[in-house]
Symmetry: C2
Subunit: 233 residues, 2 copies
């Protein structure tokens, strides 16, 4: 039993927080009234309380209560007992560091494998992969490990961006970075564009939204697809 909803981004251009996902969220969290929110990625360094308030607002329209994991005296027990979990985006290095420091990474791995519905956006989706090594984030803090939940047999590159053919900038493109990753790692990488999300139920995977995903396999040319079943499970 495994239930995952992994989105590239929380917000699309012109929308508000989670607005483009409302229909999907209603379905994914059907029958669940309370969602445990993991706020540790702190986008732009906002506080855990501020971030939880934003998440709460995103779920208001579909009448779900959102409770911040940071408000529990015993976050391990809170995770173990959660009806559903949502990890928001922000800085992946920070998120992973806090999950390890608080002894939560292994518990989160277990409850997700055990069937607790897990939703992630951006950094929260990135950690569902084998490692955080295809994050786009800046290493603002040194994590004890790059290993993450391994809830899927690939890594996710959220906010995937196509090279801009008109750019005069000489920094590496996203594709170049992922190719560099594959010089040292075998894990498949899914480039998930903003507006795309993955819905996973046990051994079924579905790419949703209106875009293709870009699949990167070691020593093979990347390709566009809507069918991710070859890389899952």
């Amino acid at each position: 039993m495994k239930r995952l909803l992994l989105a590239s981004t929380s917000t699309v251009y012109g929308g508000t927080y989670l607005s483009y996902l409302q229909e999907e969220l209603t379905d994914f969290f059907a029958g669940i009234d309370e969602i445990l929110f993991i706020p540790y990625a702190r986008p732009s360094g906002i506080t855990h309380d501020e971030y939880t308030a934003i998440a709460q607002q995103g779920f208001e329209k579909i009448q779900k209560r959102v409770v911040g994991l940071h408000t529990f005296a015993d976050p391990k027990a809170a995770l173990a007992q959660a009806k559903a979990i949502f990890t928001g985006g922000g800085n992946t290095f920070l998120l992973v560091t806090r999950l390890y420091e608080l002894g939560l990474m292994s518990i989160l791995r277990e409850v997700v494998a055990g069937g607790t519905p897990y939703m992630g956006t951006s950094a929260g989706s990135n950690i569902a992969g084998q490692t955080m090594q295809t994050t786009n984030d800046m290493p603002i803090i040194y994590p004890p490990s790059f290993q993450t939940l391994g809830a899927v047999p690939f890594n996710i590159n959220p906010h995937y961006l196509d090279p801009d053919p008109h750019s005069k900038h000489k920094g590496e493109t996203r594709e170049t970075r992922i190719k560099e990753f594959h010089k040292f790692n075998d894990i498949p990488v899914i480039g998930l564009r903003e507006g795309s999300w993955l819905r996973i139920t046990d051994d079924q995977i579905e790419l949703k939204g209106n875009l293709t995903a870009r699949v990167f396999l070691k020593e093979q040319p990347p390709y566009e697809t809507t069918d991710l079943s070859p890389v899952y499970p």
Copy 2:
């Protein structure tokens, strides 16, 4: 005695490898016939030999010999005896990992502090800072530490990019990432645009090229400047 040349990029739009820096290189390496090249950052995963050949080509017009550090049986001794050092760009996580694995980080720190002329581009400039934590690179490998040379009292963000006011992309801007860095770190950050480089001689710092740099100090609004003396030494 300290002599540093720290460039944002090796190549600017429309130019070839190091072409825009030829005049500066002639001056910086005056009287030096051989440059020790550190190829470990391996851009796009090219080999150490391939990368050294590119560097050699970049120095051909000014008649300098470039020797790859990877070709020495005893790279520690090679570093210690180098007349001048150039570290090329690529992946900073990889560069830092290899420097630590080979026991070279502390030696490089010493020889640079001791006056061996040091040139860096991109990742090679990033490691001149206090830590590698303002790199733009993907964490394709797990380094033993994020600490770097500390040859300057700040961190460098190479390939600094201004936010695109027309972008519909919701990934974090460079400025947002650096602000996140300052939630957890005090080190000043210099956003060094492509086409800019720093020339440092003992206690003097000069920003060169035709652009301003963007200076980020903890809990202060970032500002544009051509005078970096307030952050050095």
